[in-house]
């Protein structure tokens, strides 16, 4: 089920330059959310008419809280408005939306979790929920954020960091780490910028590893009605009857081999 609620801000903190972490109290959304799903947030400024899709970083069904980590995309944007929210403020939210990652994995499976940039936050819940062996590779432009969160949820030596400017960890991108460290896996879950997903999916295919990616596209309704956020598919999709699928409804998580990245 999907719900529209007026959630309450429990707290908000700035994690890094332009990166904010928002903890919300919800009635039903947190209880039904799953790793890889997203929510829509409405601005209080009515001239920003469309809701903003934000991935769920983690949720606690027991106390009904939802954590969202997002990037402020610029001056006078919806995300800038969200970044000013404080404890006790109200925020209109819809969710949980979309299909997340399959977390019903056999214990012996080795899962490689890859996050890049603002695609990193949703992978935290994936790391937390995965009961199998896992390796996490995170790629940043510069100074990392949420590093401690991931450290708490991974075994020592199973967390790798890449930064484009060499500030921390390997200088380069996530694939430089994966290749450099000779990391292999039985399955890959990833979220990040399109070029990262493109090259990761190609690497996974070369190595015969099933790879699932969380896609992003400009969306309006977030529920599959407006057909704004489509991505190309190799086969004709059963719903659209053409070769594209709705990122908000059938996705955002797709098997890398079924979509054009």
């Amino acid at each position: 089920m999907k719900y529209v609620e007026d959630s309450r801000v429990i707290r908000q903190e700035q994690l890094s330059d332009g990166i904010f972490s928002l903890l919300l109290q919800t009635e039903k959304i947190a209880a039904e959310a799953a790793p890889g799903q997203f929510v829509l947030l409405w601005c209080s400024d009515g001239s920003r008419i469309l809701p903003r899709p934000i991935s769920i970083c983690s949720a606690s069904p027991a106390d009904g809280t939802l954590r969202l980590v997002y990037r402020v995309t610029g001056k006078e944007t919806g995300t800038e408005e969200f970044s000013r929210l404080q404890e006790g403020d109200s925020l209109r939210i819809e969710g949980p939306l979309g299909n997340g990652f399959d977390m019903d994995l056999p214990e012996e499976e080795h899962l490689l979790i890859v996050g890049g940039g603002i695609g990193i936050p949703p992978m935290l819940w994936v790391a937390e929920a995965a009961g199998c062996r896992k390796t996490v590779v995170l790629g940043y432009r510069s100074t990392p954020f949420m590093e401690e969160d991931f450290k708490e949820r991974t075994e020592e030596n199973d967390l790798w960091i890449a930064t484009e400017d060499g500030t921390c960890g390997t200088r380069g991108n996530v694939l430089d780490v994966i290749r450099g460290q000779g990391i292999s896996a039985d399955r890959i879950y990833a979220c990040g910028p399109k070029p990262m997903l493109h090259f990761l999916a190609a690497w996974a295919e070369e190595n015969g590893i099933p790879c699932f990616v969380s896609m992003e596209e400009r969306m309006a309704c977030g529920i599959g009605a407006c057909l704004a956020c489509v991505c190309g598919t190799k086969e004709t999709d059963s719903h659209t009857n053409v070769r594209n699928r709705r990122v908000c409804k059938e996705g955002p998580v797709f098997r890398s081999t079924e979509v054009e990245i």
């Binding site: 008419i49 596209e217 599959g224 489509v230 594209n244």
Partner: protein
């Protein structure tokens, strides 16, 4: 209290419908409320064959509005008839199928195919600004509009609503052309052609370069055009363009619309359409209005 209106012999329990393209075939919104709360559901445009639509990005937000260039992606009439019509039949609401095409023959073939289907009204999209052929090409030339209306009417078993474009110099000329072609009703406005530039990337915000502007930003233009059209023709006018609540809808009714459609507001609040219907009823109660016809065209 009477909230029902009649469009071309079809009675809607209330004057609120959805605007084509903002509501799919209703399935996605039926998880929020019963579609029976609406006077009618207007489906997304359907063509003879499946259409893949335009490249992404297909939308961009603008102040109090949005641009879209979806490009009439649709699954084609066969799958639509098999899946979408039976779905909508579960609800106590009228079904209005929006039809798109590239040629007059395309439109007529879809319309003929729908003759046997349990749908109440047809809305002919001759005003989409986002496709190269068909669409708006018919909606900006009065002779072409009158001709396609006449041809569609010949092929249609259900009453025909012609959906007009606001991207014209004089809307009354187009309204009269549709009426002369035999249209049973007209609906307006479709989106206004617009453009947005991403100044940091130095490129168009939409892959299609131009898109249709919708949302609260266009409402005053829409109210004006509905008023002009309603005074130019005798057939019913369905008003739309930036309606987000009952107050907005009432403006259109008072301007002369017999019914209204909620479009982009469905994205601003998934409950916008039923709230608009409930709000009109509330307004009538508060103002002691017995029959909605007492306010239609009252200005």
């Amino acid at each position: 209290m009477k909230t029902s209106v009649v469009i071309a012999g079809v009675e809607l329990k209330n004057p609120v419908m959805t605007a084509s393209g903002t509501f799919g075939s209703g399935e996605e919104f039926s998880g929020f409320y019963s579609l029976s709360e609406l006077g009618a559901v207007v489906t997304k445009g359907v063509a003879r064959e499946p259409w893949p639509g335009n490249p992404v990005p297909r939308i961009a937000e603008t102040r109090s509005g949005m641009l879209n260039a979806i490009g009439l992606q649709n699954p084609g009439i066969d799958l639509f008839c098999r899946r979408d019509i039976p779905f909508l039949r579960q609800f106590d609401t009228k079904i209005i199928v929006n039809v798109c095409g590239r040629t007059v023959e395309d439109y007529c073939e879809v319309v003929s195919r729908l003759a046997e289907e349990p749908v109440d009204l047809l809305e002919i999209n001759v005003s989409c600004p986002n496709v190269k052929e068909g669409g708006i090409a018919f909606g900006q030339d009065p002779r072409a509009l009158q001709n396609i209306t006449k041809e569609v009417k010949k092929a249609a078993a259900q009453p025909v609503i012609m959906k007009l474009s606001p991207n014209v110099t004089d809307i009354t000329v187009m309204a009269k052309a549709a009426e002369a072609g035999g249209a049973d009703a007209i609906s307006l406005i479709n989106t206004l052609t617009g453009m947005k530039i991403d100044i940091y990337r130095r490129c168009f915000a939409l892959a299609n370069r131009t898109g249709g502007l919708s949302g609260p930003a266009i409402k005053p233009v829409a109210v004006r055009m509905v008023y002009q059209a309603a005074h130019a023709v005798k057939i019913p006018v369905i008003g739309m363009g930036g309606i987000k609540d009952a107050e907005d809808a009432l403006e259109f009714l008072m301007a002369g619309a017999s019914a209204v459609a909620v479009g982009t507001a469905n994205f601003m609040d998934p409950f916008a359409a039923p709230k608009t219907a409930a709000g009109i009823r509330q307004f009538m109660e508060n103002q002691g209005i017995e029959d909605i016809h007492d306010i239609i065209g009252c200005v």
